[in-house]
């Protein structure tokens, strides 16, 4: 019971509370305005991060903001008590990947890359999940809408930045070990994995 830890600074507690209270990433500039004069934002963030090291909740950077979220290793147990929305269907996920990588991109360009037409359902699913948004028009005849990813896309996939996406050369890795060509199942993302699942987990762990 006798904990020798020194009392926390007001700056640290304020920062922690402000990020903890929010569901979305809190922009760094908002946090900066909260701190008492003279407090160092980076040092304060670092102090909070250190305090949560190894806890059930992680402090992570998303875009230009910070958010708390549960540690990934607890997912299995938490899913038992927290309602989880449906996963994106494979088509939507592929479309999202194309938009993320080629943004801003028109519907026709997406269709060309996939070699298949893009259904309204797919676009609706991505819009509804707040993963993509219109980004103006392409200045060609017909002025088609350009699509790009949203800030929520970064939060959803835990990205600091769009530059966190892997390089194209890293995506075209070794050919798969021979697998019998299985008809891709609509809802399971696994058979698609070009990265071997084992490989993938390994990478996530090393990240």
């Amino acid at each position: 019971m006798t904990e020798a830890s020194p009392p926390l600074s007001t700056a640290e507690r304020l920062l922690e509370a402000a990020i903890f209270a929010a569901r979305e990433p809190v922009p760094l500039r908002t946090l900066a305005t909260l701190l008492p004069d003279g407090a160092d934002l980076d040092a304060t963030i670092e102090a909070v991060r250190r305090r949560y090291q190894g806890a059930g909740v992680d402090l992570i950077t998303i875009g230009q903001g910070l958010m708390f979220r549960t540690a990934p290793d607890l997912a299995g147990a938490l899913r038992k008590i927290i309602e989880v929305p449906r996963r994106l269907p494979r088509v939507a996920l592929e479309t999202l990947a194309i938009i993320a990588y080629h943004q801003p991109v028109t519907r026709t360009e997406i269709e060309t890359i996939r070699g298949a037409s893009l259904s309204q359902n797919t676009l609706d699913a991505l819009l509804q999940a707040d993963l993509v948004a219109p980004r103006g028009h392409k200045e060609v005849p017909g002025r088609p809408t350009l699509w790009g990813t949203t800030p929520h896309f970064l939060a959803t996939y835990g990205l600091r930045d769009l530059r966190d996406l892997p390089k194209r050369s890293d995506l075209l890795i070794e050919p798969d070990p021979p697998k019998p060509a299985e008809p891709p199942t609509e809802l399971t993302p696994e058979p698609l994995a070009i990265l071997d699942p084992a490989d993938q987990t390994a990478r996530a762990a090393t990240d």
Binding site: I82, A97, A100, R114, A116, G158, L171, A204
Partner: protein, 263 residues
């Protein structure tokens, strides 16, 4: 490698049944290419063409109706293969090589995008694997005590009010401001007995109401036409005669002779 042949036939058969599971011909081609086990950079387009054509051929045996894009791709691949194997000349050979390389590039692009999709899906996904604060607290207070005002909307409101105000009034006849035929008739009848000479119509116009103000041209024209109408009315009754010597010439009138035996 030894089991690749039966495996291939096997998988081709399964592909037919699951053609609907593919998102178009490119998707199928990519799957076939991956079944070739080659690096996509060193893909054999001709072998790929053969496989695709075989799958389509089989599929057509089972289901005659096949979406056009599958057949268009089949036709194009057949053309490509013939050009690759038996080009008529150098130009054709180069063309075919380029088309084959384009196709391989498109397959690589699709492969990369699938890789990215898988990479995204492999990350801890918010609301699936990791969770944000479930019961966020909001410290924002909204102060609505201020007023948002601007002059343009005040003026617009004024115009709208005036416009509506005017339209909501019922019909109100405008007050008569012009010299009426009735007035002209009275004036003519009163002035005529004085003389039996010809007089111009203008001489019977009413005096300008306001001496100081310049005459209102519209009112003057109205008075003139009223006086003419009154004159016509009196002429019809035989009380006066009207005369106009030329079109648009001055109109003159005088009291009619008692005898009415004129002309």
């Amino acid at each position: 490698m030894s089991d690749s042949e039966p495996n291939k036939a096997d998988s081709a058969h399964r592909l037919i049944l699951a053609l609907d599971g593919f998102e178009g011909p490119l998707d199928l081609l990519l799957d076939l290419a991956r079944a070739q086990k080659f690096d996509l950079a060193r893909i054999s387009i001709t072998a790929l063409v053969d496989q695709y054509l075989a799958v389509i051929e089989d599929a057509r045996r089972i289901r005659l109706e096949l979406a056009a894009d599958w057949l268009v791709m089949a036709a194009w691949l057949a053309w490509l293969k013939s050009r690759l194997l038996l080009p008529a000349d150098k130009i054709e050979a180069v063309e075919a090589e380029r088309a084959a390389e384009d196709l391989a590039e498109r397959l690589r692009e699709l492969e990369a995008m699938r890789g990215l999709a898988a990479w995204l899906n492999g990350r801890p996904v918010l609301d699936h694997d990791v969770f944000a604060r479930g019961a966020p607290e909001d410290f924002t207070e909204i102060d609505r005590s201020g007023l948002k005002v601007d002059l343009p909307s005040l003026l617009t409101a004024y115009l709208a009010a005036r416009r509506r105000g005017s339209s909501s009034h019922g019909y109100q006849p405008k007050p008569m401001r012009f010299w009426s035929v009735q007035q002209a008739l009275e004036r003519l009848s009163r002035m005529l007995p004085i003389s039996q000479d010809w007089h111009t119509l203008e001489q019977f116009l009413p005096p300008n109401a306001d001496e100081a103000a310049p005459p209102d041209p519209l009112a003057q024209r109205a008075a003139l036409s009223s006086t003419l109408l009154a004159g016509l009315e009196l002429a019809r009754n035989g009380a006066i005669s009207l005369q106009q010597e030329a079109p648009f010439g001055p109109i003159r009138l005088r009291r009619a002779e008692e005898s009415r035996a004129h002309d």
